[in-house]
Symmetry: D2
Subunit: 445 residues, 4 copies
């Protein structure tokens, strides 16, 4: 992922140094297990740990270059690493990797990396949820117009809007937890997964030490349906980010102006137009969501490997493993900051809410009329008539409010007098159940 969209902690998970350290840890643990089982001499296992650990911990740029040089000859990354390790460990190194195949190391390492990445994403998510909850409670009763199809529908509150996004992100959190669970497995099962040359107890030992579960049946590789499900989960999370970003983009439109991304002192919105303050963060998040969704496509194609495995998944994962998690980490963090500092304009919300002459209360009148005895179709026609009259003359000097148009309509007036009408369209009716919904979402009354 380009540096612009990378945060250091997530990027570090995918660094060569981190990868080699995990590789060493897997090899050292496997050797220790074999030492205990008597497959290899326990003292050699101890030497591997003793000499190898500082070597892995202190891996330098020169070491990376040395490993690359060996790989250029052997054309095999794990063998290059083992050779470099052997150069530091000495004779005992011949007991490393006994009965293992490269994928035992590579795939278990990838599991560790993806689990760590998921942990960071879960921390990101918790911060986002906290911000969303705070802003939702802050605006629990801030009235704003609800819009379907981009058209004013009925009043809602800004807090309810945020509660909906909060609820979506709690589902996304659960999806990340499930996705982490999916990929946190360990396979040390040998060349085709039969344990022909390695005892299953080695796998159990390594898995437990690394906090992973044992892969029930592997075939040199950990099956790629797990990884596909992981990247699909990221794609769903990214789409949730886009939904909230899209909301902010709409609210910041010049004609709406109900909310605005924080505009920094010194910030410039446009090189040409000094008046501009643009929702660039939320637009940026929209693009990143597209990227993360796109990464799910090759991940799904990776599932159907040939026979016990082919290596076509590898180039895909070398790229999308870091790219998808780094981009999503960046996006969650950016979204959290953006929502934390989002400027809300309740007065504009109020103004917009009232800008259509009251037609947004049409349903409540419809119900009152049917309750009063009109047929559904008749009531609908009457209310639509008054609403369209209001709408068509918005802003014109002889325009009337929806209420006045209704009272002037004989069919309506025959059923409802002014008092009954005012009672029907009382805006407090709209917010009666906000508390109920908040209790459902945030778990309190």
């Amino acid at each position: 992922m380009v540096p612009r969209y990378s945060r250091p902690e997530m990027a570090a998970i995918w660094s060569p140094e981190a990868r080699y350290r995990i590789w060493f840890e897997i090899e050292a643990l496997a050797a220790e297990a074999m030492g205990q089982l008597g497959t290899i001499p326990a003292e050699d296992a101890a030497i591997i740990r003793q000499k190898g650990e500082p070597r892995a911990a202190g891996i330098s740029a020169a070491d990376l270059e040395r490993i690359d040089a060996i790989e250029r000859e052997t054309r095999h990354d794990v063998i290059a690493f083992l050779t470099w390790m052997a150069e530091g460990i000495g004779d005992s190194a011949r007991f490393m990797h006994q009965g293992l195949t490269s994928s035992d190391v590579l795939d278990t390492c990838l599991s560790v990396q993806m689990a760590r990445a998921a942990d960071l994403l879960l921390e990101d998510m918790d911060r986002l949820l906290a911000v969303l909850q705070r802003r939702a409670e802050e605006h629990k009763y801030t009235p704003t117009i609800g819009r379907s199809h981009g058209i004013h529908a009925e009043p809602t509150t800004f807090g309810l809007k945020l509660a909906g996004h909060y609820a979506e992100f709690t589902r996304n959190r659960a999806r990340l937890v499930a996705a982490r669970e999916e990929i946190a497995t360990c396979a040390i099962s040998g060349a085709v997964g039969t344990f022909a040359a390695v005892d299953p107890r080695v796998e159990a030992f390594v898995a437990e030490k690394l906090g992973l579960k044992v892969e029930p049946v592997s075939t040199q590789v950990i099956p790629r349906d797990r990884h596909a499900a992981f990247f699909c989960a990221l794609a769903v999370v990214a789409s949730g980010i886009e939904r909230l970003a899209t909301e902010v983009r709409h609210l910041q439109r010049s004609e709406v102006r109900e909310a605005e991304e924080y505009f920094h002192p010194g910030q410039k919105g446009s090189s040409a137009m000094p008046h501009k303050r643009n929702p660039v963060l939320s637009e940026n998040l929209t693009g990143i969501a597209r990227l993360v969704r796109g990464y799910a496509v090759p991940a799904l194609e990776n599932v159907a490997l040939w026979h016990e495995r082919d290596i076509s998944h590898s180039s895909v994962e070398r790229v999308i493993g870091p790219d998808a998690t780094i981009a999503l980490d960046f996006a969650l963090s950016r979204l959290t900051g953006m929502m934390d500092k989002l400027t809300i304009y309740p007065a504009r919300m109020e103004a917009n809410l009232e800008s259509l002459g009251g037609v947004v209360h049409s349903q409540k009148v419809l119900l009152a009329l049917t309750q009063a005895g009109l047929s559904r179709e008749g009531a609908y026609r009457a209310v639509q008539r008054a609403a369209m009259a209001t709408w068509s003359n918005l802003g014109s000097p002889d325009g009337k409010s929806f209420r006045d148009n209704l009272l002037a309509d004989e069919e309506v007036a025959g059923q409802l007098d002014a008092a009954a009408l005012d009672s029907a369209i009382d805006p407090q009716r709209d917010f009666r159940h906000v508390d109920t919904i908040f209790a459902r979402v945030f778990g309190k009354g």
Copy 2:
């Protein structure tokens, strides 16, 4: 979905008749709840049920045409349905849909349809799992070569191959269960989800009767992250189908011939070449997997609806709702039949296993040599030398087996005599842990 890939039970879930029956059920239940709460007269609710239920149950082609005709005028599908219903129910019909918005009906109906579709898919999956388990146990110890990169690696058993697919499908089953859980929610919350005109107890009542959970916070619509997650789950399942289909396609290759799709009496493989017997079922499944994966892409784009909702998701779901579930149902069923009748050729497996002169035992020799004291690198070179000599002369008159090449190698012979070598490459070593793996997968020892 085209009839060729449709099975009647799944297709029926998506028929107009089924949809209208569910719509009626939602409206009738909502009316009953409102009758109990006193929002509408209980007797009208009873009349709605009494007159409406047979009308919905007996919906005819002429009725469908009548509803379409109303929709052509109103350009609104739910209003068209309600109008048609009112024509049969009479005056009480004005109490239908009180305080509801169309999406309350449409989205809850879609939840019911998707849950039913998931139930069918789960039944499909159970049949597939049963077949895979039976075939796996049948071939638990049928030796076959394991292949990585399409190249012979080490022996495994055909039962182990199938156990791996069985395990993947148990994960896919769990994903379907989770996906069903995701979308089985009910929303009866009104125009922007505030319950402004409908009591939340109506939603609770309808949800319980339909076996759904209440959507904690809706915004006229049920949030589309649920649906996206559902279609992603189908995409992962489809990819698992492709993995098994790809295995069969490989096994049936002319050069491999280890398994073959059942060839029916009277079947013709090619219009031009009467000798052909092609793996057309598994190739067909590969294509269907591509389709189902493709449907996840628009489902993910559907998440970021505008504000409280726009209707862009609707055209997508009218198509991929049926198409993805019908295609997957067909594919699971076809795969089950294919695996049930798959002809297995153990003799060919044996012949292929032995066709490379024994080089497939190279790892076991490598380990024996390092145990005997050679460095890992030295042992590797020696074994690679013997393997390449064997491989290069396969089928040539002066070609030697891998065993003979090893014994002729001074470096090897210095560490291992013939007896030690034979012990190292004893094929029984390969299958020592088959039982352990089967216990992990099928839950018994």
Copy 3:
């Protein structure tokens, strides 16, 4: 494709009857070519044409059922068709399909169908272009605000907006022409494309009669990169539809109201809210664009068939062949109707244009100040200062216009007096080059 999104002329291309007629035509032409070459008796070729043509032309539902019944036995669609044909043609039928393989018929037929579909799409496109040009010229000088990031930027005209979409659709037209060219090829080359049993002159004859080009090298199948490119072109076209649909959705927003989809007498926007008039056509088009984009994904996966061919592409194409072209035909037609009848509100455009106190002229002031001698940075700061002061007090009683804020700014006033400022922000400057752009797009001055 579901009937709701299908138009009869495009659907007819993909009907079984149409397909069988094309199959017959290919077989009959091939027989005629072979008759001329002496490969088969010319009189038998004549009988095939004579008896077969009415049989194909008059194919009935009963015939379709008969063909299906044969296919259920042979499990081969082309053989089923040939058998049914033979039942009507008699003994001469044994000279049909001589040296051909099924794919010769299937793939050439698909080329014919896709070319016909492309022709319909091109007609759709021409109608759309005509409507866009008419509306663009109608509103060539209708002022409206241009928006970047959803924020008011600078004035433009509604005609220019449409000219941009017109230009994009001319590119899309060219892409469709290229895509049609790509897939309009004919292959009659036998089982693996070697012409082992069929003379290349047969292919040339059939190709010419069908208006196709000869496929230079086929491998039983026409290579699938052609089809992938075709579906990618459809995906790009669909995305262009979405861009225009998105514009309309934005313009119809309640806060913007600059344009509106035609609202039919009798139409109902919402079952709950009688006041609603929603941009449902453009939202629908947005969803259909997602579908058509999604179909490109499996089309791309279809390219890498195994060896000379496998049949995995077939199930994909049976679905997306019709689905993508039918959906796109529907979408182009719907878009054309929508744009034809789109209600435009120039007064609202004017009002919105002026709603921000004139800050939309900020760039012109910036340029005048730098021309007058201020540094770019200094001028930027001064203009931004005045713009933000205007913006922040919009609608407040003591708010001042951008012009007044500028004149009150010492740094600005030191460079520009009122007359110079008014000259700088003269709105006529914005439209000086509209004619030039129209000439570029529509080819006249």
Copy 4:
């Protein structure tokens, strides 16, 4: 893109230094045009060129850091660059960027970068085509079995296989040329594309100097359908790479062994199994093809920007611009090397061709029998009978060849004697038209 899959020349196109140099060039050219037009003083334009060119050419790491620092304050990349430029150019810098908007610079720069990237890809393609042609001619008459469905079909030649891939890559070359044409446009049209503050002649001047075409109508941005079409073209090319890679993977399978990727001295195929030589290059290419296909998905979503533009496309393009072109450049280069050195085993091809007892000649017998007077159906049954008998007893001691089974069949023997049969299945018939096909593909006889 990760360094592992990056080649320096393509990566350099996307470096910050390269980008800033192009930005400067655009600004300098625009200033020169304005100097000529008298919009700004010609001497200032000259100073901009004179002082700015070495500054841009010599941009250092410290400069990059300085630009980043300014961007951290202004949060605007183009303004940061202009400010840094002004620090070196001095007072004349205030005449840079006059009437331009950032996107004029950004989008025209992206066009230059994509055009350069396309040029490199075309050079890659030419090298690949040269190698494919050489290998195709080398093996023009090397017999090998053609396979449909992975099943032996009829003989073909290895040269014909390669000719098919060559033809596909010539189509891919044409697609790249068209895609380059698509994106090689220049827009210098100001804030919303109206040329309100910049003369269209400036655009024409810059375009001509950069070798670009003028964008007929832009809206601050160059329309993104162009870029979508570009990335779709890359996706189709990548799929063609996968098709050839898949062929090689199949040919190298242990059971097939007809071709093999070059195995370097010192190379190790597996850390566990010294005998392994795996088709890792072609598997790697398969994965890269998935990546490049995946990048088309967000590119298509980028088309429908809001109004005159939003900036959601930008994050997508910052990533996939480099990633897709760098990956494809790497893949084309790797494929070229792989095909150049691919080891071909004609003897294995011959052996495989003959391994099914001759059933691969079934069609020729079918045709001979129908010519001799049998009905198509009768002939088919007779030939299928003999073929299945041959196939079922392959390798068994009492198995007979297809020829012998045919001669032993009464129905066949009644029509064809041994001489007639041998004439029908003469393998030379299969290669009669190889020359014709080569002439079609390579343009000579």
